[in-house]
């Protein structure tokens, strides 16, 4: 296995006509860690990854592996393995032949085909035509393609999409294992919850721009905790909070008070003689920080 190299995006921009899909994106991805590349659908994740892999030409900037562009790698599949979201298979070709074609083109030993089919658990179905495969089996075949060169860097676009619960559990463990071996692992997802159990670092983009990067734990402290409170007489509650100098916003299930202490909110309501129907600390999870960062509003 070649050592994992640093993946670097340097001021990468991509415009499609008047639309800027990726806007001056810069970040690095370190070996030995699983990095989640997150953002809502349409944020520019897939376009960014395709630029990294030389499939899409950036309008400006460069994306490199240890300083080398994908197109200039001497052994691309043995340096970087990738699985992209699109189902890139000829439906009439078997899984084994699909992998053989690319192993031959990349000059990899033919024995790798059987090995990676074994790794992803497709050996039994290897000689069936891919047209009959389920989404989960296609994901596994995509992963087999990524692994075929035993690369030091793995770039996986939405690898969990379409997997059954058992498959999800397996791939989470597998990603940890790959990073544990010193490989660079970059995994994209539009759902933080999908990858939060397996990533060390996060890179978050929205509307083509970088909005956050750092360890997963850095998301926990991004937003202050809040209290959700509601009353059958919401106007009276709002007046009481205003009188007590507590800022709040109105949500679907109640008022969202900018105060970490439910006891204090309860006391304010009690003192004003307002009956409460709801009072609890909002579970300010990673997902909320994530959604706040990508600008999809709060989740009340």
């Amino acid at each position: 296995m070649p050592a994992g190299s640093v993946v670097e995006f340097a001021n990468v921009t991509k415009r499609f006509g008047a639309v800027t899909a990726v806007d001056d994106l810069s970040f690095t991805v370190e070996p030995g860690r699983v990095t989640g590349f997150l953002g809502p659908n349409g944020a520019g994740k897939t376009t960014s990854l395709r630029m990294l892999l030389g499939l899409v030409t950036p309008t400006a900037g460069t994306a490199t592996f240890g300083g080398v562009r994908y197109a200039d790698l001497s052994h691309p599949l043995a340096t970087v393995g990738s699985a992209l979201e699109a189902a890139s298979f000829h439906p009439g070709r078997t899984a084994r032949n699909h992998l053989r074609v690319y192993a031959i083109g990349a000059g990899l030993p033919p024995t790798r085909v059987g090995e990676v089919l074994q790794t992803v658990g497709l050996t039994e179905y290897a000689d069936r035509r891919v047209g009959g495969y389920s989404l989960g089996m296609r994901q596994r075949l995509g992963l087999a393609f990524a692994l075929i060169g035993d690369p030091g860097v793995l770039v996986l676009d939405e690898p969990i999409n379409g997997l059954d619960p058992e498959g999800i559990k397996w791939i989470r463990g597998f990603l940890r294992e790959l990073a544990g071996e010193g490989r660079t692992v970059l995994v994209s997802s539009h759902l933080l919850s999908e990858v939060q159990q397996s990533v060390d670092d996060v890179v978050i983009i929205a509307r083509g721009r970088l909005v956050h990067r750092g360890p997963l734990s850095s998301l926990e402290t991004e937003t202050a905790p809040q209290v959700v409170v509601d009353s059958p007489t919401r106007e009276a509650l709002a007046a009481a909070l205003t009188d007590a100098g507590i800022r709040f916003t109105e949500g679907r299930t109640g008022l969202l008070a900018a105060d970490p202490d439910p006891a204090r909110i309860g006391h304010v309501a009690f003192a004003a003689g307002v009956e409460l129907s709801t009072l609890h600390r909002q579970k300010s999870g990673l997902e909320d920080s994530f959604l706040a960062l990508v600008g999809e509003g709060h989740t009340l």
Partner: protein, 274 residues
Amino acid sequence: MSGYLRSVAAEFTKVTSTRIWWVIALVLFGYIAVLAGGLSALFGGVQSGAIGSSMGGGQAPPPAQLPALIYSFASSVGYVFPVLLGALAVTGEFRHQTLTPTFLAVPRRGRVLAAKLTTLFGFGAVLGVVALLASVGVGALVMGTFGVDPVLGESDTWALIGRSVLAMALWAAVGVGLGVLVPNQVATIVIVLAFTQFIEPLLRLASTFTDATAGIGRFLPGAASDALVGASFFSIAAPGASVLEWWQGGLVLLAYAVVLTVIGYLVTWRRDVT
């Protein structure tokens, strides 16, 4: 093994690992066998007197030309099959989005396209052999039963057979060029069928009406291919048409393949793969 040869091996595996090439080969064989057998029987029957010339056999070709005409069906009728195989080898990559893994395995896109051109040239030759097995195999057998000499001992016949294989190989390369220029699979198939079955035959016929257009008409791909092979039903139907030398015909067909492929490379092959 060099990168280029590895790519040729990969492209070869792509063709053999799906069913389309032998489906095309099978249909080609059946089509040409029926045509060569049927017309050998018709013209052979007329010449041997088994079929009266009053039954519409009055326009039968002279006996000396008959074997060459029948054998040339392999390319003059069958050429649409290698064009389709070549075109599908490219459009299938766009349609099934297999350009993604292809370019991930070999980021040098020009090399991939050159390898594809080489590989399909080879498969075109294979289809040529299949078509000739039908036209020569079945045609000679039927002509023999009607007492027409199939002239299989003559070197001219074998030269025609060899040039037919070359023509079919070049047609597959033309198909690759067309496919990369028009990556939409349905559009490409429509263009291939409309051009080969309708537009070009009309243009070739129309071009024979004046001397000026006849000079241009012989550069049409089908005319060039017939010139390369050296015989076709077209040259008998329109005997006044001027034709190129066989080697000129081959070069013209090669030029079509290369020019289409180069333009296609510049226009679609280098584009973003999304």
